[in-house]
């Protein structure tokens, strides 16, 4: 085990006060920088958190990215989410407009064509209905084919967004570590600043002239129950006197006698008391 130094100011003792003051200023400067960094990191962390929430639809609006908190990855994630939302909206509008899914359109189209060209049991009314539906389904299929690229874009955009959000999440964890480290560093700096401040206070605010010893007149006044000034009281504390006064003033008291508990002496009121054990 290392031997502990006798005072927390041992390393400062050989230094001049001005040097300690310079050290103090330097530590305060570093502490301010660390706290500013910490604020910046917290802002970034909040931005990451809101971006992730926005990406998973827990927030309806995109977080505001201020210029000083510019993060390319966050901007990319927001951009990709907006593109994904737009693609989803187009897809939903298309589905709402057509209603019939692509595979059913293709199947029904083939079915109607086969019936119209081979089934002799159809009535004219059925043929007319199928003819109209056939060309409507044909148009639907063309529209689905036209939007095929858009539909595959939705999936690609979703995958890209997921990858970006993974990276944002990874950065967020790294940011949390940085915050912890910076907070620890700031704590160390704050302790050091406190130590230096305490040292400086001790050496700058200390009295230059020692207090004079108390006079016998002070003792007499104290014994007579009169008031003492603060300076006189401080002098008595510094050089002693209060204890002497107390010892002289109060007579030694004898220790309190311990009272024995009184024992009830029970005697028979009538006759003679019989022994408890008659065999003895």
């Amino acid at each position: 085990m290392t031997k502990r130094s006798s005072s927390v100011f041992d390393d400062l003792a050989p230094l001049e006060t001005t040097e300690v003051e310079a050290m103090y200023e330097q530590v305060i400067g570093r502490l301010s920088e660390a706290e500013e960094t910490l604020v910046g990191l917290h802002v970034q962390k909040k931005l990451h958190s809101e971006t992730i929430k926005f990406a998973v639809n827990k927030l309806t609006t995109a977080p505001e990215v201020k210029h000083d908190a510019l993060d390319e990855l966050v901007q990319l994630a927001i951009q990709q989410k907006k593109a994904f939302d737009a693609a989803i909206q187009i897809r939903d509008e298309l589905v709402q407009r057509l209603v019939v899914p692509r595979h059913r359109v293709a199947n029904t189209l083939t079915d109607f064509y086969t019936k119209l060209t081979t089934d002799d049991g159809l009535s004219l009314a059925q043929e007319m209905e199928m003819f109209a539906r056939f060309f409507e389904l044909q148009t639907m299929l063309s529209i689905y084919n036209e939007h095929q690229a858009m539909l595959s874009d939705v999936n690609r955009t979703r995958l890209n967004l997921l990858e970006t959000i993974k990276s944002v999440n990874k950065n967020d964890r790294r940011l949390a570590q940085q915050i912890t480290q910076t907070r620890e560093a700031a704590k160390g700096l704050r302790n050091e600043a406190g130590r230096l401040r305490a040292y400086l206070k001790k050496h700058q605010a200390g009295p230059d002239q020692p207090l004079p010893p108390p006079t016998p007149e002070m003792n007499e006044r104290l014994l007579s129950g009169q008031a003492l000034s603060m300076e006189e009281f401080a002098a008595m504390l510094e050089h002693g006197g209060l204890t002497d006064v107390t010892q002289a003033a109060t007579p030694p008291t004898s220790p309190k006698e311990k009272r024995e508990p009184s024992m009830r002496k029970a005697a028979p009121r009538r006759g003679k008391r019989r022994p408890s054990n008659p065999r003895r």
Binding site: Q96, R97, L98, V99, V100, V105, A106, N107, L109, T110, Y113, T114, L116, T117, T118, D120, S123, L124, E127, M128, F131, A132, R133, F134, F135, E136, Q138, T139, M140, L141, S142, I143, N145
Partner: protein, 154 residues
């Protein structure tokens, strides 16, 4: 073009209204060509059934008109009734078949006339839904769904 049964949806994207009308007309014409023969067969069959039923009805009435029937008359009368019922059922069946063929001929003639007119470019009203979709409107399926939802809402 492939056979209709093996055609895939992507092949059907190139099918035009003219081509489909032509296919329908071709099928209709093929079906119509066999209808006169069928009509002839059904008419002959129906005539025969009518004759049989008529003869059976006459015999039955004669037997029913006998005033003093002997012991075997009852069984002969029962047999004549069964024969009449059988021929009458056959007659009704053939009559139905004949009417069906006649209806098919009429429907076929109307259909051929209709699709012939369509082949000249008069199918506009049949392509209204497809044109609405092309112009960015809703499909008839979407409209139907919307109408059902509104009815359910009420």
């Amino acid at each position: 073009m492939n056979h209709p049964e093996t055609m895939q949806a992507k092949d059907l994207l190139t099918v035009t209204p003219e081509a489909l009308v032509a296919s329908i007309l071709k099928r209709r014409a093929a079906a119509a060509s066999s209808l006169p023969t069928t009509l002839e067969q059904r008419t002959e069959e129906n005539n025969r059934a009518y004759q049989l039923a008529n003869d059976a009805r006459t015999s039955l009435k004669q037997l029913e008109a006998v005033e003093n029937p002997d012991e075997g008359h009852h069984s002969v009368l029962e047999k004549a009734r069964n024969v009449y019922d059988e021929h009458e059922t056959f007659r009704r069946r053939t009559d139905s078949r004949l009417k069906k063929v006649k209806h098919a001929i009429k429907d076929s003639e109307e259909a051929i006339q209709f699709w012939s007119e369509m082949g000249e470019g008069g199918w506009g009203h049949l392509l209204e839904d497809a044109e609405r979709l092309n112009e960015g409107g809703e499909s008839s399926y979407a409209k139907l769904k919307q109408r059902r939802n509104e009815e359910d809402g009420q």
